[in-house]
């Protein structure tokens, strides 16, 4: 058995853990620039996480084991997803553990338990956040799967490594079905990672927050894990989008010499994805929660159009 796929696997998880706060820092920094504010710098998320880890945990009196278990689980699913999504190379030993449907389900586990943790304390905010999060998720998930199915129709596989491999060695660089699916994916990724116009990660205003409402009661290392997992989720969705729609630069199987170059290309693409996110977030306002049906409905329609155009045009 070859050892270098395992090294790449470990490397990839190390990058996920290490670089994901920088991606968040990059997005926040550019957001500050575009809004004419002074930014706290690229490294501020690292400092935040370090600070939270060193603090004590304050738990509400009636917090149960679910509340204490959830941060670890959320962290665990994010790390596992990072081991499966090809970032540097498609040669990952645990890639066949989970195809793209499983990855969507891994995020669903994290969401399920975060929503339970939100209801555990028994405050109105927690329940409100859980209720909204599960509603949005139930609308986003069909659209997400439709977008991914459209891509998997072209590659005849739901395994991510295989999808990357097929698109990589594909004959046509640009397919109309993929364009539709990509727009749908971007809309859903905004919803899933809790960005504007769906949710505002920077707000703690009672009536608008969704994800923040669920984790309002967390503190100390629990909050650090959740925040870190949230940053990893943004990183993972960016990587998932890159792997599905723009995989050029990911090293193919056995091509170990290409991995450093692949790392540089990945950083460039992530930087560009972050810039795109900032443009969207700065250009749009947060939507009312009941307008989101239109937003996610159009994502679903676009994904369906992608699927139809695959059958009709390709």
């Amino acid at each position: 058995m070859k050892t270098y796929p395992f090294i790449i696997e470990l490397l990839q998880i190390a990058i996920l853990l290490g670089v994901s706060p920088a991606l968040t820092g990059w997005v926040r920094m550019m957001k500050c620039w575009t809004q004419g504010r002074t930014s706290p710098g690229l490294l501020q998320p690292y400092r935040d996480i370090m600070k939270l880890f060193s603090k004590d945990v304050v738990l509400a009196d009636n917090a149960s084991w679910i509340f204490r278990f959830t941060p670890y689980l959320v962290f665990g699913t994010a790390v596992l997803a990072g081991g499966v999504i090809p970032m540097l190379s498609i040669d990952l030993p645990i890639a066949s553990t989970a195809d793209v449907i499983v990855i969507v389900a891994l995020f669903a586990i994290a969401r399920f338990f975060t929503a339970l943790a939100g209801m555990d304390i028994g405050t109105a905010f927690g329940g409100m956040g859980s209720s909204r999060e599960m509603t949005i998720a139930s609308l986003a998930e069909p659209a997400m799967l439709m977008a991914i199915f459209t891509v998997s129709l072209a590659s005849k596989s739901t395994s991510l490594s295989q999808m990357v491999h097929v698109i990589y060695s594909g004959h046509s660089l640009f397919r109309p079905s993929l364009a539709f699916a990509m727009i749908a994916f971007v809309l859903i990724a905004l919803a899933e990672t809790g960005r504007i116009p769906v949710d505002n990660p920077a707000t703690h205003l009672e009536l608008t927050m969704i994800h923040e409402a669920m984790i309002l009661e967390y503190s100390g290392r629990h909050l650090a894990l959740i925040e870190w997992a949230g940053m990893m989720k943004l990183f993972l969705f960016a990587s998932l989008g890159i792997a599905t729609f723009a995989p050029w630069g990911i090293a193919s199987a056995g091509d170990i010499g290409f991995v450093p170059a692949s790392f540089l290309i990945m950083m460039l693409k992530l930087g560009a994805a972050g810039a795109g996110l900032v443009l969207i977030e700065t250009g749009l306002a947060k939507m009312r929660i009941f307008r989101l049906t239109e937003f996610l409905g159009s994502a679903f329609l676009l994904a369906t159009l992608g699927m139809l155009s695959f059958f009709i045009l390709e």
């Binding site: 790390v79 669903a108 304390i121 859980s130 509603t135 290392r221 009941f290």
Partner: protein, 681 residues
């Protein structure tokens, strides 16, 4: 004596009948009765599990003929892998539920005698086993009626409540409308098999050999599907299900939802794949469409409920839908002679049958434990039970995670297989199906995500937060037999989730016999770990590694972060400085589902009213706010109400014949005799 699967299963059924006979003898001591009878049913179920597992694993087909019943029409019994599989499903859940019942039924001690419950419980399980074992139409229908009648009395058990009597009546009506359709379907098939000359066509063997003309085969299929759909609770024939399942004792609800509905799935598979065997694609399309409608509508109705058992009952509608999606896809693939894909769809449907039996059984047992402890079914009054019932809470959570199709538990495996079957539908030669079938995958995804939302609500409102009720009852944890039943069901959910390849390799023979191809989900080294239907580069999933991976990271993170001990402090809830926070301010079941009610509200008949009762001095500060919400099934008004009204109208008309005077009746008899004499000369 040679022990064979058939021998084991016959002894299992006989043991159940013996228990029925024994019950009146020992009814003097109710506690002893409960211990003895439920131990005996556990043993009988264990025999059934062994027999069923053996029959599937060994690929046995065995027949016996019982010389009872009508003269010259003996009862035929047959065990083959398909029957063995459903026997395993039924017996496995019966085993867990029987152990659970030893504890649960003791809750009735001192309140009401349980003799009738025990008798009907044994007959109910025996009836389900016999339905699956039957190899002729007569025995099948007799067993079907035994099952329906026994479950009717079980639904009626607490008959002092009017809603129980109404639910039981509705149940028996729908069950019999369905039974008539099944009878007619068998009639069509038996008549054509025996050329309408004699009764020899009533055995399933004769029906298998008969070549039915297309229009008659279609009639037989539509009748059988209607009949079985009524039993399975397929939308729009589902209305009895959420009424009858919640009011039965919880151990019976577990069996009704977990396995009784599955006898209808068995019937559909048996009639289409085995007895008829050759069918056009649109039969599969009907099954698929009704499956999708049931799945989506079932979960949306479930989200609107605040009665824990009613919510679970609506989820049975959803899961029957998911099972039918797999079977419908399999039928479409079979009709285009794509055996491998047909095997995938069939295995997905059948695997979900087993999974649903386990997690729905577990959830109903959990709901029963909550009911047993709090005497409350309304979730709006519950909360915080995780502190007082830690075992029940943890086990119920496993059921919730399984039914929400989250890895590494079992519900995910079968939904994943169904998704794979959907994704292979572009291989179909029919252009229309190619375009439309993948949209079904989106509906399945919607169902899965809504189910997760619903179970966050069910678990969160019941077990988390604070107690919402006005008075706090003394809540005690479930006793040992109840916990044992739930632990076993939860462990099965977990094993079915992480070791799906072992189970699918075991049951693969069914797909080989019915669709002509094995699925062969596992290939290569360490094959038991990787679930790879079709081909490894197509898709693969390993529940084992997902579980171990998450476990590893969770444990590692926990250990790393707990180097410094004692850094956790407890404090009261942050009340934003108002000091008036109370447990009625928590989100409850109705408020949790409010966004979904608003988005999907057009599917329901919703009446919502908010009434402010003002204070005389301060009109802007109301004394009280009354909130009224009623969510109704639209199907009731569209489909059932007209039928009910017409039948009442007709009965009133016909009722005029009943004069109550002897002279009138003598005239009726006289006219009848004259008419008969005139026409039958």
């Amino acid at each position: 004596m040679i022990v064979t699967p058939m021998w084991l299963l016959s002894s299992s059924v006989l043991l159940l009948f013996l228990t029925v006979l024994l019950t009146p003898l020992i009814k003097g001591s109710q506690r002893f009765l409960i211990n003895t009878s439920f131990t005996l049913t556990s043993v009988a179920s264990l025999l059934g599990v062994i027999g069923g597992v053996w029959a599937v694993g060994g690929g046995t087909t065995e027949k016996i003929i019982l010389e009872i019943g009508l003269p010259a029409l003996p009862f035929h019994m047959r065990i083959d892998p398909l029957a063995g599989y459903f026997i395993t499903v039924i017996s496995l859940l019966s085993l867990f539920v029987s152990l659970y019942s030893i504890g649960y039924i003791k809750g009735y001690l001192g309140r009401r005698p349980v003799t009738s419950l025990v008798i009907c419980y044994c007959l109910f399980i025996a009836g389900m086993l016999m339905v699956v074992l039957a190899d002729d139409a007569l025995f099948f229908l007799v067993s079907w009626e035994v099952m329906a009648a026994a479950s009717y009395f079980l639904v009626m058990f607490e008959d002092e409540h009017i809603e129980n009597r109404r639910a039981a009546f509705l149940y028996i009506v729908v069950a019999h409308v369905g039974a008539i359709a099944i009878l007619l379907s068998f009639g069509v098939m038996a008549g054509l098999a025996g050329d309408f000359e004699n009764f020899s066509g009533y055995t399933f063997d004769a029906m298998r050999q008969a070549q039915l003309p297309v229009q008659w085969a279609t009639a037989a299929f539509l009748l059988a599907f209607f009949g079985f759909a009524a039993k399975a609770g397929v939308v729009p024939l589902h209305v009895w299900l959420p009424e009858a399942h919640p009011v039965a004792p919880s151990n019976v609800s577990a069996l009704m939802s977990g396995v009784m509905l599955k006898t209808a799935i068995y019937g559909i598979v048996r009639v289409t794949f085995d007895l008829i065997g050759d069918f056009p694609w649109w039969w599969g399309a009907i099954v698929l469409i009704l499956g999708l409608v049931s799945a989506v509508m079932g979960v949306l109705y479930a989200l609107m409920q605040h009665d824990l058992k009613r919510l679970l009952a609506y989820h049975s509608v959803e899961n029957i839908g998911i099972i039918l999606i797999g079977i419908g896809l399999s039928m479409i693939f079979t009709s285009y002679h794509m055996p491998l894909l047909a095997a995938l769809g069939l295995i997905a449907g059948l695997y979900h049958t087993l999974n649903h039996a386990m997690f729905k059984g577990l959830l109903f047992m959990g709901a029963g434990a909550v009911l047993h402890a709090t005497h409350e079914r309304n979730m709006e009054e519950m909360g915080g039970l995780i502190h007082r019932m830690p075992w029940t809470a943890a086990l119920f959570l496993i059921g919730c995670v399984s039914i929400s199709a989250l890895p590494p538990f079992n519900g995910f495996v079968s939904e994943w297989l169904t998704f794979q079957a959907f994704l292979l539908s572009p291989a179909l030669p029919n252009q229309l199906l190619k375009l439309l079938v993948p949209l079904g995958a989106a509906l399945l995804a919607l169902t899965g995500a809504l189910a997760a939302a619903c179970f966050v609500k069910a678990f969160g409102v019941t077990f988390l937060g604070h107690w919402r009720g006005h008075h706090t009852p003394r809540v005690r944890e479930a006793d040992f037999p109840m916990r044992l039943g739930m632990v076993l069901a939860a462990a099965t959910c977990f094993l079915l989730g992480v070791l799906p390849t072992v189970v699918i390799d075991w049951m693969d023979i069914i797909s080989e016999q019915l669709t002509g191809s094995k699925l062969r989900v596992s290939t290569g080294a360490y094959s038991w770990m990787w679930l790879t239907p079709i081909a490894p580069e197509r898709a693969s999933y390993s529940g084992t590694i997902v579980f171990l991976g998450i476990l590893f990271v969770v444990v590692a993170a926990y250990l790393v972060l707990h180097v410094k001990p004692g850094a956790i402090h407890r404090a009261p809830i942050w009340d934003c400085g108002f000091e008036k926070i109370n447990q009625r301010m928590q989100y409850n079941a109705t408020s949790f589902s409010m966004p979904i009610r608003r988005i999907f509200g057009f599917l329901f008949n919703i009446k919502e009213q908010v009434k402010l009762i003002p204070r005389a001095a301060h009109p802007f500060f109301p004394k009280k706010i009354n909130y009224y919400l009623r969510v109704r099934d639209r199907f009731w008004g569209w489909l059932y109400k007209p039928v009910v009204e017409v039948s009442f109208y007709l009965s009133r008309r016909v009722g005029r014949l009943q004069q109550g005077r002897i002279q009138a009746y003598l005239i009726y008899s006289f006219i009848t005799i004259i008419v008969l004499l005139v026409f039958s000369r």
